[in-house]
């Protein structure tokens, strides 16, 4: 390496790819570092296009939008977005089951003991009902209601958060407007060649199909499943997790909306996978994620089309993937963000969250020059942890089941899971305790929602629950349920809320 090569300052970032990942990255970098003289160029090819799916999100996206200065009403209208209070899981524990994993709490803790412990003691008694009947976002979801949470921590209205469901094809253009207004330069065209510095092996320039050359100091690979820089050029390697998550295909199709606008996503388990239903203002997004080892493409497509609730609006589109992540998400001077970095099926809407996490960490560790091995190692450590913890949570959905109606479910139910997950299951099934961590996406209520929603009932409960008289606890449960129902009932109808707040997209 030349004496000064390692010290070359980083002042030009080139983002390759203009899908959700590319434009979110460009918007994030421009908003947070544009004023510091950082030049940001985004290269995208309309001829290649974007993956065009990815419409359900997690509450963290609101932080991202707020940080970069996005106006919520404008964003909702521009992307035909709806609000999302959780995900309904149908047919997962057993065929016919349904539960909602909400973005919020269950009940309220009492004397330091989690609410689900009290519920567990009385589960099955008349009038006690399912755990999710004690969650405000679940009750509101089932009523089709929405209201932003209260900031008063004493109010039951503060016990939830919300996310969005938006049109994937409208979201990247919205981010593009935001990014371009903050100085990002867009270049249209296909990258056909990548030049590496001979000694360091770092990327120095890209050549476009019309011969233009784009030079940069740091490159963000947002080329989706192509992984043009991170894999095709730098061969970062891939950790394949299909041993635990064998779904490797999806077929997607939009349809007309039918019925009220629901503030939640639905994930329905099928013979060898599951289908999503994402309600948007103007249509419903649908798709079927499945394992080609257990189901043919035709059968998967038939299942999807049979389940559509409205008129189909396009031809079904097939996608292939391998679940896992790049061995190094940041290699040399290339950072992979989005599908180029890895893919975990959208069962818990985690991909856009992982994009956001990648951008945030990149901003936090943004290097001054090419001499940045420490920053690179820390970025990779952090992102590996995020991916692995999401992975475990997704595996739980497949593994915690009583379904035995297909080879697929028999395989998933009986397979060996990672030790980290096996230990969690053992702890929970004993007395309902959940092993918590500080650095991971899914917090205790999420684990409880899926475990109990999928019939993993602890064999007993927290011993402290017995310290309170049964009648008193039952009275408390009934009171809480009534209070939450009343609070949810007082919320506004979801569609009416969008209209009243000028969040509906104007008809074309």
């Amino acid at each position: 390496m030349g004496a000064n090569e390692g010290k070359r300052a980083i002042n030009r970032v080139v983002v390759v790819g203009g899908g959700t990942a590319g434009w979110m990255t460009a918007a994030g970098l421009a908003s947070m570092l544009g004023q510091t003289g950082l030049e940001i160029t985004l290269v995208e090819s309309e001829a290649i296009g974007v993956v065009g799916v990815g419409e359900a999100t997690l509450p963290h996206i609101k932080n991202f939008n707020d940080t970069i200065g996005v106006n919520e009403a404008e964003f909702m209208a521009a992307t035909s977005a709806t609000f999302k209070l959780g995900i309904e899981f149908v047919n997962w524990g057993r065929k016919g089951d349904s539960y909602i994993h909400p973005f919020g709490e269950f009940g309220l803790p009492n004397a330091g003991v989690a609410f689900h412990q009290y519920w567990r003691k009385f589960a099955g008694r008349p009038g006690v009902g399912a755990l999710d009947e004690y969650s405000l976002p679940v009750i509101a979801s089932r009523m089709g209601k929405f209201q932003p949470p209260s900031e008063d921590p004493r109010s039951v209205m503060s016990t939830y958060r919300y996310a969005y469901q938006f049109d994937a094809l409208q979201y990247a253009p919205f981010m593009r407007t935001h990014a371009e207004a903050r100085g990002v330069t867009r270049m249209e065209g296909k990258v056909v060649d990548v030049t590496l510095e001979p000694e360091s092996g770092r990327v120095s320039a890209l050549t476009m199909d019309d011969g233009r050359v784009v030079e940069g100091d740091l490159f963000v690979d947002c080329t989706g499943f192509f992984g043009l820089l991170i894999e095709k050029t730098l061969s970062a390697g891939y950790d394949d997790w299909s041993e635990w998550l064998p779904a490797d295909r999806a077929v997607a199709v939009p349809c007309e909306s039918d019925g009220p606008l629901l503030p939640y996503t639905r994930a329905t388990a099928h013979e060898a996978g599951w289908s999503w239903r994402i309600p948007l203002q103007h249509r419903t997004g649908n798709g079927h994620v499945y394992s080609s080892q257990f189901l043919s493409d035709d059968a998967a497509c038939d299942t999807l089309l049979d389940g559509l609730e409205g008129e189909r609006l396009a031809d079904p589109r097939f996608l292939r993937f391998v679940t896992g992540k790049r061995r190094k998400l940041w290699s040399r001077n290339v950072v992979a963000i989005g599908l180029s970095g890895g893919f975990l099926e959208p069962l818990e809407s985690t991909s856009i969250y992982l994009i956001q996490e990648g951008i945030t960490k990149l901003l936090e560790l943004f290097p001054a020059n090419q001499d940045c091995d420490v920053e690179v190692a820390e970025y990779n450590r952090w992102m590996d942890l995020q991916f692995e913890r999401v992975r475990d949570f997704l595996i739980l959905h497949y593994h915690a089941t009583e379904r035995d109606d297909s080879d697929f479910w028999n395989h998933m139910r009986t397979m060996n899971v990672p030790d980290s997950l096996a230990e969690r299951l053992e702890l929970f099934t004993a007395h309902g305790h959940v092993s918590a961590y500080d650095h991971g996406l899914f917090l205790v209520p999420s684990w409880v929602a899926v475990l109990i929603g999928q019939r993993v009932l602890p064999s007993s409960f927290d011993a402290r629950v017995s310290g309170q008289a049964d009648a008193e606890v039952l009275r408390h449960l009934a009171g809480l349920k009534g209070h939450m129902e009343k609070a949810a009932g007082s919320m506004e109808d979801h569609a009416a809320y969008l209209t009243r707040n000028n969040m509906m997209r104007a008809a074309a």
Binding site: E378, E423, H431, S466
Partner: protein, 348 residues
């Protein structure tokens, strides 16, 4: 149903902290709690806690202001310790300066230091200003300020107050040499050597910590709280034991990281992976990576790294969003505010 019996062995202070919490958060029908209190503590004087003392006492229903008055309480806003070569180090519980636009204050300070001579980073810490002031503010006033604080109690008064609270809550104090004090469904004890914390079979060992003020308190209170939060029948709690031990070991690692940072000649050469990472990342860009189950707050790590001479080679690029004059004015203002707040508190 047979009675579950917990026996706590320890000094009055150890038995007091553990016993008081368990009396209020564990004791109930079918359970008994016995405290085999050993001879008086060899240690005397003051006993430092950390900011989690507020939650600990609130959970057991023993208001901190009552203890404060009865046990010679004095607020502490930073942990105190010494490096191997005897230099005093203060680890403030709350942030230096205030973060801005998602970036910690010290990043702005680093940048400003390259522009012009700046006051020492410690002068931007309200915690340190109050900690080192001639008079500590009264509790009620401190609660209104944007700082976290623990309390230093008179050791024997605090131990005795907690023992009384435990007894009032149904625990009984027994002779350490009595037959009763030899076995129980569970024996909880504190080992003073470096023995690993462990809950296995009928024994739960809390590894005692020292060297940094407040750590002895932390080891006792967090171990007890964690045990109570993993409540399960004592005859059927193997997964809970494993979880308790896993968390206790993780926290012990974080404490050992700090001890090593304060003592090792070159923190960047540490063989402890998490510590080496902290030192390296801090030296590279001023950020301090955290692990799961940290014991010390980020400002404490910052102060310790700083005290040991680890200096960032650059500041965060996001700190460059302010112009030079905006930055310098802001720093001046902040320092002025901290000084005037400290004066006001002193005058009150």
């Amino acid at each position: 149903m047979s009675t579950e019996r917990i026996l706590v062995r320890g000094s009055p202070l150890q038995a007091g902290v553990i016993g008081a919490y368990l009396a209020s958060r564990w004791l109930g029908p079918g359970r008994s709690l016995e405290l085999a209190v050993g001879t008086e503590d060899k240690a005397t004087g003051s006993f430092a806690t950390r900011p989690s003392v507020h939650r600990f006492h609130a959970e057991m229903g023993l208001p901190i202001d009552q203890l404060f008055a009865r046990c010679g309480g004095s607020p502490i806003l930073a942990a105190e310790t010494r490096t191997a070569d005897g230099a005093a180090v203060q680890l403030p519980f709350s942030a230096f300066g205030v973060p801005r636009g998602g970036v910690e204050f010290h990043q702005y300070w680093l940048r400003a230091s390259r522009l012009s001579q700046q006051a020492d980073l410690t002068e931007f810490s309200l915690s340190l200003a109050l900690q080192n002031a001639a008079h500590k503010p009264p509790l009620a006033q401190l609660e209104q300020l944007p700082v976290d604080f623990g309390i230093a109690f008179d050791r024997s008064a605090y131990g005795n107050a907690l023992l009384s609270f435990a007894k009032a809550g149904g625990a009984s104090v027994i002779e350490a040499s009595s037959e009763q004090a030899q076995s129980a469904s569970l024996v909880i004890q504190c080992s003073s050597d470096a023995q690993a914390p462990k809950w296995q079979g009928q024994e739960l060992n809390i590894a005692q910590q020292s060297g940094i003020s407040g750590l002895e308190w932390h080891a006792l209170s967090s171990a007890t709280r964690r045990f109570a939060n993993l409540a399960a029948p004592l005859s059927d709690c193997v997964p809970e034991q494993a979880e308790w031990t896993r968390l206790a070991l993780a926290q012990r690692e974080r404490m050992a990281d700090m001890q090593e940072l304060l003592n090792i000649e070159d923190p960047l050469a540490s063989t402890r992976p998490a510590l080496q990472r902290k030192a390296e990342v801090f030296a590279a860009c001023g950020r301090i990576p955290t692990e799961d189950y940290e014991v010390f707050t980020p400002p404490e790590w910052l102060a310790a790294l700083w005290a040991r001479g680890v200096r960032p080679r650059r500041s965060d690029r996001m700190a460059e969003r302010l112009t030079d004059s905006q930055l310098l004015d802001w720093l001046d203002q902040l320092r002025g505010q901290i000084a005037s707040l400290t004066r006001q508190v002193q005058a009150a």
